[in-house]
């Protein structure tokens, strides 16, 4: 565990994640206080990436639980292996010892662990609960026990408690409001789009093949674009993709023609592309080249 905030920031940077002071502080506190970290923000701002980098740097195994509507116990936490249990019953019948069959078939051996249980057992883990807003409310209620006490109660078996509490990262894109009960148990951080300096640093780390001129212009362009009125603004992930795409097309600098041709990497809605393409894009290119 890093000793202070700057050590945490350094650790994230070593893993290829450029964090601002606020984020580094929050991550540091989550690690030291042993509280789950709840990250909310627009898609593509690097929420999931934090968990990956933490797992690589601590180092711990990364256990990822991708949430979806209807995610239930058997997919998220554990499931009894019915086939093996039935076989055990048959074998017990053949051997003639059916007396203690009830206790023997609800043994840990017949319990298959899914992500949440995997994160509690074995070597220390980083548990990533990704896009919690996609799961439904009943699943959130189940999570409360896991998040508060790092334990899971299996009715047939008892309570399974983590030897080493996992580092828990929860992300949400806000397609639904996550309940206050979950938020209360976590440290909250809103992950915003990075400012120009930080975005340049991210590009330098994540897209090292892109030339300095191009990357400065790309960042200036995207920063200007984010001030505009678009349905879906590009995140950092799109910036990286776009810089790589332009480099793949051998672009040395931003040109209106190559920008028009690659807008699909940056914007993902036809309305937005139609709005930006042509004049507006040319204007932003000129501004970006001036300011970069």
């Amino acid at each position: 565990m890093p000793a202070d905030v700057s050590a945490t920031a350094g650790m994230l940077a070593a893993g290829g994640y450029v964090a601002d002071t606020a984020l580094a502080t929050t991550v540091h506190l989550a690690l030291r206080m042993g509280r789950p970290l709840f990250l909310e923000g627009e898609p593509g701002t690097g929420k999931t990436e934090i968990a990956k980098v933490l797992a690589a740097q601590l180092p711990r195994k990364l256990v990822r639980l991708q949430c979806y509507d209807g995610l239930d116990l058997s997919a998220a936490a554990y499931e009894w292996n019915h086939a093996r249990q039935l076989m055990a019953i048959r074998l017990a019948e053949v051997a003639g010892n059916v007396a203690d069959i009830e206790t023997s078939i609800y043994d840990r051996r017949y319990l298959e662990s899914r992500p949440l249980l995997q994160a509690l057992e074995g070597e220390p883990a980083v548990l990533l609960i990704d896009e919690l807003d996609r799961a439904d409310e009943p699943f959130e209620a189940f999570l409360l026990e896991v998040l508060a006490d790092f334990q899971i109660t299996v009715p047939e078996l008892g309570t399974l408690k983590a030897a080493t509490p996992p580092v828990v990262i929860i992300t949400s894109n806000r397609t639904r409001e996550v309940h206050d009960a979950i938020r209360r148990r976590c440290l909250y951080h809103w992950v915003d789009y990075p400012d120009a300096a930080r975005e340049k640093a991210i590009l330098a780390l994540r897209a090292p093949t892109v030339s300095a001129t191009l990357s400065a212009q790309v960042v200036a362009f995207v920063q200007k674009l984010r001030e505009g009125d678009y349905f879906k603004l590009p995140g950092v992930a799109e910036t990286i993709d776009w810089a790589n795409a332009l480099t793949a097309l051998n672009a040395r600098e931003l040109e209106p023609a190559s920008v028009d041709a690659t807008l699909g990497v940056l914007l993902k809605y036809q309305d937005d592309i139609a709005k930006l393409k042509g004049e507006e894009a040319a204007r932003l290119v000129a501004e970006a080249r001036d300011s970069a």
Partner: protein, 397 residues
């Protein structure tokens, strides 16, 4: 100097503790709900940091005291005021400032107007009927009067009749248009085998299969999102429909309500209050543009941009309540309505103008919106509200 981590013990020997508590109280007064546990968490966080870094302290307090992004603005204002130099005089000044901000909000003219409108005591004379006087005295209406009320236009109702209509609305129950979820419950006639339950029953019998237990999908109603126009031309209807929305909000889960005139306000949290009078009082403090002009296109764009992705998930049904009379002549309206339609499962437009038999969509706004909605219905009296409720109950085939 950073004190050693004393495991949740509050660092009371420091001047920091009383200041932190005062700060938490300040946030609480500014409307952020915080318990003692939150203050303890914040105190613990501060013991782990170098208190010289203002940025770190701000981030730590944010991480431990905030729950949602919307609170950031209030927090930042409070933080800047309070921690500039937390000496008595400044703290007092900060408190005074935060306090001063609150009543100012209350005295907005729009607030008064909506409060008056909500009280429903504005005289409304256009239908002077001879039996007006006795009805006001007689609280319980006769059957024929209730029947007449069903088809009476909200616009033409007197204050008493409005009150009666509100009573009727409270009695309306939304049927549950159930949608299957991906969760299961045990059901003896269910279509699927519940292996876990079957096996548990089997072992109870020492390994003998007695019966196969079954399960079926749980169903639940989809989320409902209402976007209601409160401009001058809609004021009368909006007053009634707010009662309807309040009743619906408290009757089922996952209902979100928005009001717009010239700007969009989310009133979901306010409407969740059980008592309608208190709920509307809270709404009135929030909404500045009651009975003003309308900018439908802008309001819908705002909704798409900032709320669409947050409340339209999981197959939401959208009720768009407006007469379509747009001050901007329908600019940007077609695109915004189309985007809204494509983001939800069903877009129902409720328009009180539809009560006129020969209604022709002539206004720019109506022409722009009409091709982009799934359904178009009148909503001007109790009977039409009933029809709406039936339509909401229909399964989509």
């Amino acid at each position: 100097m950073i004190p050693p981590r004393s495991d949740l013990a509050f660092p009371s020997e420091h001047a920091l503790a009383p200041n932190l508590l005062a700060f938490v109280r300040l946030l609480r007064r500014a409307g952020i709900q915080l318990g003692p546990g939150d203050a303890l968490g914040a105190a613990e966080a501060l013991t782990l940091l170098d208190l010289g870094s203002r940025c770190s302290v701000r981030a730590a307090l944010k991480a431990t005291l905030l729950r949602r992004h919307e609170q950031t603005e209030i927090f930042d204002a409070a933080f800047d005021l309070f921690w500039r130099d937390p000496e008595r005089a400044n703290v007092a000044a900060a408190f005074a400032l935060m306090e001063a901000q609150k009543p100012e909000e209350k005295s907005k003219p729009g607030g008064r107007r909506i409060a008056e409108a909500m009280a429903g005591d504005r005289p409304k004379p256009p239908v002077p009927t001879p039996e007006e006087q006795p009805r006001q005295l007689d609280a319980a209406m006769t059957v024929s009067e209730r029947e007449r009320l069903q088809t009476m236009d909200f616009e033409a109702m007197s204050a008493t009749e409005i009150n009666a209509a509100k009573q009727e609305i409270r009695r309306l129950v939304l049927p549950l248009d159930e949608r299957p979820t991906r969760r299961f419950r045990t059901d003896p006639l269910g279509p699927r085998v519940d292996m876990r339950a079957t096996l548990r029953a089997t072992t109870r019998n020492g390994g003998d299969f007695r019966a196969i237990l079954r399960k079926r999908r749980i169903t639940r109603p989809p989320p409902l999102v209402a976007i209601c126009d409160i401009s001058g031309s809609m004021a009368r209807y909006a007053q009634i429909l707010l009662h309807f929305l309040h009743a619906v909000t408290n009757d089922r889960e996952r209902v979100h309500s928005f009001l717009f005139g010239t700007r969009l306000s989310n009133i979901t949290r306010q409407l969740k209050h059980r008592d309608p009078e208190i709920a509307f009082e809270m709404v009135s403090h929030m909404v500045p543009d009651w009975s003003g002009g309308t900018r439908i296109g802008e309001a819908l764009e705002d909704f798409n941009q900032h709320w669409g992705r947050r409340v339209l998930g999981q197959g939401a049904v959208v009720l768009l309540i407006t007469d379509g009379l747009d001050r901007e002549g329908g600019r940007g309206l077609a695109e915004a309505t189309d985007r809204l339609k494509r983001s939800c499962r069903k877009l129902i437009w409720l328009n009180p103008l539809l009560r006129y038999a020969g209604f022709q969509p002539k206004s720019q706004g109506i022409k722009a919106m009409l091709p982009h909605v799934h359904e178009f219905r009148p909503v001007h009296n109790l009977a039409s509200l009933r029809e709406l409720i039936e339509a909401l109950g229909e399964r989509r085939r």
